[in-house]
């Protein structure tokens, strides 16, 4: 039975359509109240379900946010602890290196000061004592009269005085010279004292600078311990920055690994064959990839044993003797692999040259001519490839640093993304709930619009009934009033 068979109740399509419309409108009119109730209740159910789901999602978002905050603070605490620990190590180093020599410096300083003191004492000026017989001149000078004998004596005394004076001046000059010599010898000691004090000042200043840095980190640490919002914001921002920077560096490292892969993939076919495939990958490519991954692993372990990264707590917890032995083991393996890579890179160049010769011979170019043309500069690319083959494994070793940062910051970034996603879901759910709620109101209005004809008739009938009822009420009131008046 086709649609037309059902639709065409009567042969005239217009009439059939009209009958259908009237029938549907009549059914809708009679089912109006239950239909309104159904629409409103369904919308209410959907709205409430969306609201409840949204609330649940927001709860999950809140828990995730809380968890993120805890993780962020914990990571921040660990990072700041590491920084403070390193600062204290530096302070310890400074104290050991510089201030351990302080007793020696003190002794040196005391000795210098003693020498300066002695020199100073030696350089003090002592005025020359007048000759003891000068008092006798007074006695002679007091002899009365003008005795020529006295004059002669005084003359002799004068000559003696001049002589004594000359001797005294000479002696004074000599002693002054000696004092100046002492003062001269004091100069290097003064300079040495100044230098020693300058060194002490420098050491103390460096310690003061370190202490300022430690103070700053301690303040940050206290903020983290207090779980302040400022600390969380700062850590979050820092984590995002670190994530993107480490991502960039890792992308660069992947580029390096790709070049490394191309250097060794082809010559690996000489060792493991290049025809078989495992899971869609050529076996020589897999072997090359494994070598690069082993190099990366060795690099990671080397950085770990050097305590530059802290990805493996087991390695970090080893005692120093074992750790240092492991450093040499990992370095040796890495060196061996780097040498292997350099050899493979050399082999790659040889193979490529051989391939070129074969292709040239098969396509018509003579082998000799080709070889003569290439040999003049071939050694440059060979050496460059060997150098890259040797250096890249060591360069890839440093991937451990951005990798550690990436792993640590990834937790925060994924957490933030999770929070954002949950918020978006909650918002969409609430939006859908509200849209359904208001749409149901519109649907009710549209429903009434479809059956506007019967509703209009109903309104007219109702208003007519209302008028009749009002008239009946008025006449009955009038009759009642008349009856009461008669009574």
């Amino acid at each position: 039975m086709s649609f037309n068979d059902i639709f065409l109740i009567v042969p005239n399509p217009f009439l059939a359509g009209l009958i259908w419309v009237v029938g549907i409108v009549a059914i809708m009119y009679f089912a109006r109240s239950p239909a309104h109730l159904a629409i409103i209740s369904v919308s209410r159910v959907i709205h409430n379900a969306m609201r409840l789901t949204s609330r649940a999602v927001m709860g999950a978002e809140d828990r995730l946010n809380q968890r993120n905050r805890e993780v962020l603070l914990e990571q921040g605490r660990e990072a700041v602890e590491r920084i403070i620990e390193r600062e204290f190590d530096r302070v310890d180093g400074t104290v050991r290196r510089d201030l351990s020599e302080y007793p020696a410096l003190h002794r040196q300083l005391s000795e210098e000061i003693t020498i300066i003191d002695d020199d100073y004492k030696e350089s003090t000026e002592v005025p020359p004592e007048p000759p003891a017989w000068v008092k006798a001149v007074d006695a002679v000078a007091k002899i009365p009269g003008k005795d020529p004998m006295v004059a002669s004596i005084l003359e002799d005394i004068h000559i003696s005085m001049v002589k004594a004076n000359t001797q005294a001046i000479e002696a004074y000059r000599k002693s002054s010279h000696k004092r100046h010599e002492h003062l001269k010898t004091m100069m290097p000691h003064w300079r040495k004292v100044k230098s020693v004090l300058g060194q002490v000042d420098k050491n103390v200043t460096s310690l003061l600078a370190r202490s300022t840095t430690i103070d700053r980190h301690m303040e940050e640490y206290e903020n983290i311990i207090s779980k302040t919002d400022r600390a969380v914001r700062s850590l979050s921002s820092s984590s995002l920055t670190q994530f993107f920077i480490s991502l960039l560096v890792l992308a660069i490292a992947i580029g390096g690994a790709f070049i490394n892969f191309n250097l060794i993939a082809r010559p690996m076919a000489e060792m493991v064959g290049g025809t078989s495939e495992i899971m869609g990958f050529a076996i020589n490519n897999i072997a090359a990839m494994v070598i690069i991954l082993v190099e990366l692993a060795m690099g990671l372990f080397l950085m770990e044993t050097l305590r530059i990264t802290r990805l493996f707590p087991v390695i970090g917890a080893l005692n120093d003797k074992v750790r240092l032995r492991l450093v040499w083991v990992f370095f040796s393996i890495l060196l061996f692999l780097a040498l292997v890579e350099a050899g493979l890179a050399f082999m790659r160049e040889m193979l490529m040259e051989d391939d070129s010769k074969v292709v040239a011979a098969l396509t018509g170019t003579t082998e000799g001519g080709y070889a003569d043309a290439t040999n003049s500069y071939l050694w440059i690319t060979t050496v460059a490839q060997m150098g890259m083959g040797f250096v890249l494994p060591f360069a890839l070793m440093f991937v451990a640093i951005p990798l550690e940062t990436f792993v640590h910051s990834m937790r925060t970034v994924f957490g933030l993304m999770g929070v954002g996603t949950l918020r978006a879901i909650a918002w969409i759910l609430r939006l859908i709930g509200n849209v359904v709620r208001f749409f149901s109101n519109s649907l009710v209005q549209i429903y009434d619009l479809i059956i506007f004809g019967p509703l209009w008739i109903e309104r007219i009938i109702k208003s007519k009934h209302a008028k009749d009822d009002a008239a009946t009420d008025a006449s009955s009131v009038f009759l009642k009033k008349g009856a009461s008046n008669e009574l």
């Binding site: 025809t275 078989s276 010769k357």
Partner: protein, 216 residues
Amino acid sequence: MSFRKFILILFAFFLLSCSEQPTGPNNQGVYMLVDTSGTYTKELLQAQKIINFTLSKLNPGDTFAVARVDTGSFSEKDIVYKQFFDDRPSMTNKQKRKFRDVIDKFIKTAKPSSYTDITGGILQAIEYLNEAGTRKKTILIFSDLKEELKKGFVRDIPLQLTGYQVIAVNVTKLRSDNIDPREYLDRLEAWELRVQTGEGEWKVINDLSRLEPIFN
């Protein structure tokens, strides 16, 4: 769901996805039939070019055989030279050089045959390539495709060419084709029908400067 379970499920998915990938040798087998009948021996220098081109494109692990088409081609004796290339690229290059030298000698000393048993040659190629077990199988027919069988030879045999690519190269026009080109077209159509009936893929390459489709 714990984190460990999640990782296990991921690993299981990885293994399942891996199982869809092909495992084993990814090699190619090429069997070239060289028509040495009548006047077609003049075209052997063109055949040499195609052989050299094929050699330059083959990789370690591939296999290549060149066989002549003569009175009775369903025979190992008609194989001029065959080679399974070594896994190691350096050894492969040595083998390619030797292959080229042998073909050079063959081109110089080839004698024309009285009949042209292309079907026998194809049957021999199928046998060889099936035995080689290569992933891709290609039969090159260097001929004018005019089959002339000696009396008594039965070659009305259906060909089983599933997974095979059959390429006719340098299909020259005969004098009679020039008089009535329908002969040439009918000949090509007949071979195409025969190959496709055997579930093989049919191609014709007459421009020898554009041989790349052989390896596409």
